[in-house]
Symmetry: C2
Subunit: 292 residues, 2 copies
């Protein structure tokens, strides 16, 4: 029955067969891509090699973006490490003494606590591109400037969601307790949506985070500090041009991206025998490529 | 409104506060756990160290389980490697010449092609434990003997789904073309459900697969053979007792597991400020622990 519905959906376009995802991405015009803005890009460079490129979205969580850039620019993160790594969940980095004002690393001009930015008022800037499929965790899902997102039109709120490679600040039990520690999701964790402030996404280098040593102690902590992977974090704009990693992201407002969503939903390739006629905000994947 | 609904759901049990997941798992009685059956457990041992423990479920895909055990027992996989690894998608292992009867490794007494076992008739043996939440990819999701699964009661079919760590055979365009190559999902890939025969799940060692070198060539292939991670695969029953990895899996028919689903859905911990009153078949996680 689902397969019949799929065939029907394309019956009006018999002359033009639906294109598979790889073809859509390969043939997307230059105008359907945008370069990463170096002012809103972080490089997490691991001491043992490997660069994780994180794009930040100030629109929905401006205080968190400002804070992480201040911390990166003042060298706060340099020499800190991924001290909590749980397979299939998160890699968390920062200062293990962050909660103790006496022993923690100096915050410099950064704030000791941030007001939660779990969600933000719905605006049209940047625009929200609806996915168009039902979702169990949110009233509606879609994309905001290349980031998987959700919104509740009745409550007039929108937020970034925890798909693969979401970048967010950790916190304690209080909502307004985030300050310096960050995590990256190693698998989708939608139940964390609106419970933490997501304000970025890894655009390249997830394999380095997936390759980190896992925690062996309670809560996923790596008990031996010398086994934790050290890093530096810099804002791309502060890095000499020759050392940057120039990437482009497909515009999620583009015709190519809308076609990609449809291809993910309907899987036109001959390989597929069963088509659920459904996709998920975390299953679409926002294409990234090296700048040409 | 969702939070109000959550409070209401527990108003009849005011004396007994809902327990968080960690507590449910820690306090589950011995009778709510089962040991892995060595006859239906594979050890994928990587040449450079690290054991991936895979539990097989013969009930829904008996031909695939029989085939992988025959291949493992005849040493077919020993010395082969993970030659296709795509971050956030799959790690695939086997013989790169598997499609060419002239150059492929001898299949021994294994079959050259398997009839697809994408799904199976609904039976009560083993029983299906419904999750109870809506799902976009299937009519209904739940668990069959510790494996995330789905079913279509109207069509009377059930199948294992592609959550994190699903173990399945790859195939070519034809439905009945699987033979020896296997993959493990490095993130949920629900769109593959009913398109490939899932017949196992990784119970321990995902970090070794996440740490594999990624493909650099088209289709995620690792172009330099010497960079591919070699392995052996053995059936646990054939491994001397002292070299086994004895694990227990929480029974998904148990009261502890039903309570765990509820805790994943409602997140009773004080940490959570927003509760979607929803969970997903891939977000529950089936607890595993060392045998005591």
């Amino acid at each position: 029955m689902l397969i019949a519905a799929f065939a029907l959906a394309f019956s009006g376009a018999a002359a033009e067969a639906p294109r598979p995802p790889a073809e859509i991405v390969a043939e997307a015009p230059a105008s359907d891509w945008r370069a990463l803005d170096p002012e809103n890009t972080l490089y997490i460079d691991l001491e043992d090699g490997g660069r994780v490129v994180v794009e930040l979205l100030p629109a929905l969580a401006p205080e968190h973006v400002a804070q992480v850039k201040t911390l990166a620019r003042e060298g706060y993160y340099d020499g800190l490490d991924f001290y909590r790594v749980i397979d299939g969940f998160v890699a968390q980095g920062g200062d293990t003494n962050a909660d103790d004002p006496k022993t923690r690393k100096s915050l410099g001009s950064a704030k000791p606590q941030l007001t939660a930015e779990f969600d933000a008022p719905v605006t049209d800037d940047p625009p929200f591109t609806p996915l168009g499929d039902a979702d169990g965790f949110a009233a509606e899902t879609g994309f905001v400037k290349g980031f998987p997102a959700a919104r509740d039109a009745a409550a007039k709120r929108e937020w970034l969601v925890h798909c693969y490679g979401a970048f967010a600040f950790g916190r304690n039990d209080g909502a307004d307790t985030a300050s310096t520690e960050f995590y990256v999701t190693l698998a989708p964790q939608r139940y964390l949506d609106r419970n933490l402030s997501v304000f970025g996404a890894v655009r390249q280098g997830m394999q380095y985070l997936q390759g980190l040593p896992r925690g062996d102690a309670a809560g996923g902590i790596i008990s031996e500090p010398e086994k934790r992977a050290k890093f530096t974090i810099r804002v791309a704009a502060d890095v000499p041009q020759a050392e940057r990693t120039p990437l482009q992201v497909m515009k999620t407002t583009s015709a190519s991206f809308r076609e990609l969503i449809e291809a993910r939903r309907n899987r036109p390739e001959a390989f597929f025998k069963f088509r659920p006629d459904h996709t998920d905000v975390c299953a679409v994947g926002v294409p990234v490529r090296p700048e040409e």
